[in-house]
Amino acid sequence: MSELFSTLSLYLSRSFVVNALIVGVLIALCSSLLGVTLVLKRYSFIGDGLSHVAFGAMAVAAVLGLTNNMPLVLTITVLCAVLLLRMGKNAKIKGDAAIAMISVGSLAIGYLLMNIFGTGSSNLSGDVCSTLFGSTSILTLSDFDVWMCIVLSVIVVLFFVLFYNKIFSVTFDESFARATGQRAGLYNLMIAIVIAVIIVVSMQLVGSLLISALVIFPALSAMRVFKSFKSVTVCAAIVSVFCALIGLLTSILAGTPVGSTIVAVDIVVFVIFFIIGAFTKGRKA
């Protein structure tokens, strides 16, 4: 046991590990905040779709040889989020089909681009793998990445706090919100943009494939047990941060891939909450 702690403190004295922990906790917090809204609005797949868009954008950035791919990836993903939302309204191509189309399309194009143009390294499948699963990138963050992540997280949290009541209102009943003159369209647009920001930031941690898990699992866990929107949101945030910390430390100590480890912890917590939820419900009935 003491050996474990000395290994841990050795790692914690390294700046890249501390960076990873800071970024990990912030991403977990941000993704869980809007997760509740996404799950309840039946938008779970927008997260999945946008993460693939971000993957495609990363491939483009890699082909262009950009050292800082964040700004480009962010712009493209936000644009796609807005586009998806507009499409959903027009209903020429239904929302879920549009998401599937954009998602699969950008995944394919991204991989194709990486394959044709190469990314400068000889290990293509390794690159793809780390983009998809985020296996190492969180441990190789630059200071710029860390600061960008901190700034974006602050913006996301501020947005969420300031618009909390409105987000709740358009999530619970969009037609009532519209009918009584709340700017539902505007709030939906802002939610889409913030989701895009969260996804791009999250890619650093778990990679594009596992982002949906990071967004959805804490919300679903919290919803098993808690009954008001506020308590569900707070609980989801705590669960998410807790799982991210445990997952990160485990992956550092055991040498497992970061993203998958965090999601594994999320799954375990979900099962625990599910059992608690079933138990308390059973007792009442």
């Binding site: 706090v161 300031l162 709740f168 619970f172 009918a179 003159g181 008001s228």
Partner: protein
């Protein structure tokens, strides 16, 4: 004046003309697909009329209509407390102000009292009975309006006893508090029992006091 309703290039309802005065209790009846929902969306300002216009007087605007929508699937499994939901009725008054004011809280309190759901305030919405849920949504609608309520099939899916309670509650809002009621309904008998005016849309359009409602229309509306 006649108003034509529809969406896109699709005309759903045309040649419609009616008026609602303060304190009226109007029931809109008609078959499915006859344009009741489109009419309601137009009244709320969610859809633009294809021709003609809707005019408001006395400082009422589309935004000041309290609205009781039909429940959606999303809401049936929604983790939210009664109080949280009622409070959202205050949001339209708030503009961009991020948090609720004391006045908002007092208003929500008053309307929960009116709907007799103060005791349920901490309860989870999805665990309430159908009648209780409707009263929560009614309290929310009352937070958004003082004058006029638009109810979309408020008794759909309720059992007969709760349905009767709901009708009594709506009647008391109309009679005792002077709230103007516009209700979309399937139940022509109940409409004739409670409403002061009837608007029948569909094959035959009728608008007038309930006493003047022609009986030949009655048959058509009952059989759906």
């Amino acid at each position: 004046m006649s108003t034509t309703l529809g969406y896109g290039s699709q005309v759903v309802l045309s040649g419609l003309s009616f008026e609602v005065n303060a304190g009226d209790y109007l029931c809109i009846v008609g078959e499915n697909g006859s344009g009741k929902t489109t009419l309601m969306k137009t009244l709320l300002g969610l859809t633009k009329p294809l021709g003609g216009s809707i005019e408001f007087a006395d400082g009422v605007t589309a935004r000041k209509i309290g609205y009781l929508p039909q429940q959606t699937d999303v809401q049936r499994d929604f983790p939210a407390s009664v109080q949280e939901i009622v409070m959202t009725g205050c949001l339209s008054r708030d503009g961009f102000r991020p948090f609720y004011s004391k006045a908002d809280k007092a208003l929500a309190e008053k309307n929960m009292e009116r709907m007799n759901i103060t005791k349920l305030r901490k309860r989870c919405y999805r665990e309430l009975s159908g009648g209780q849920q409707q009263r929560v949504l009614l309290a929310r609608a009352l937070c958004a309006t003082q004058k006029i309520l638009l109810l979309d099939e408020p008794v759909a899916g309720l059992d007969p006893k709760v349905t009767a309670e709901m009708y009594d509650l709506i009647e008391s809002l109309n009679k005792n508090d002077g709230v103007t009621i516009i209700m979309i309904s399937h139940d022509i008998d109940k409409a004739l029992q409670y409403a002061s005016h009837i608007l029948h849309v569909g094959d035959g359009i009728f608008f007038g006091k309930r006493e003047d409602y022609p009986h030949e229309l009655k048959g058509g509306a009952v059989h759906e």
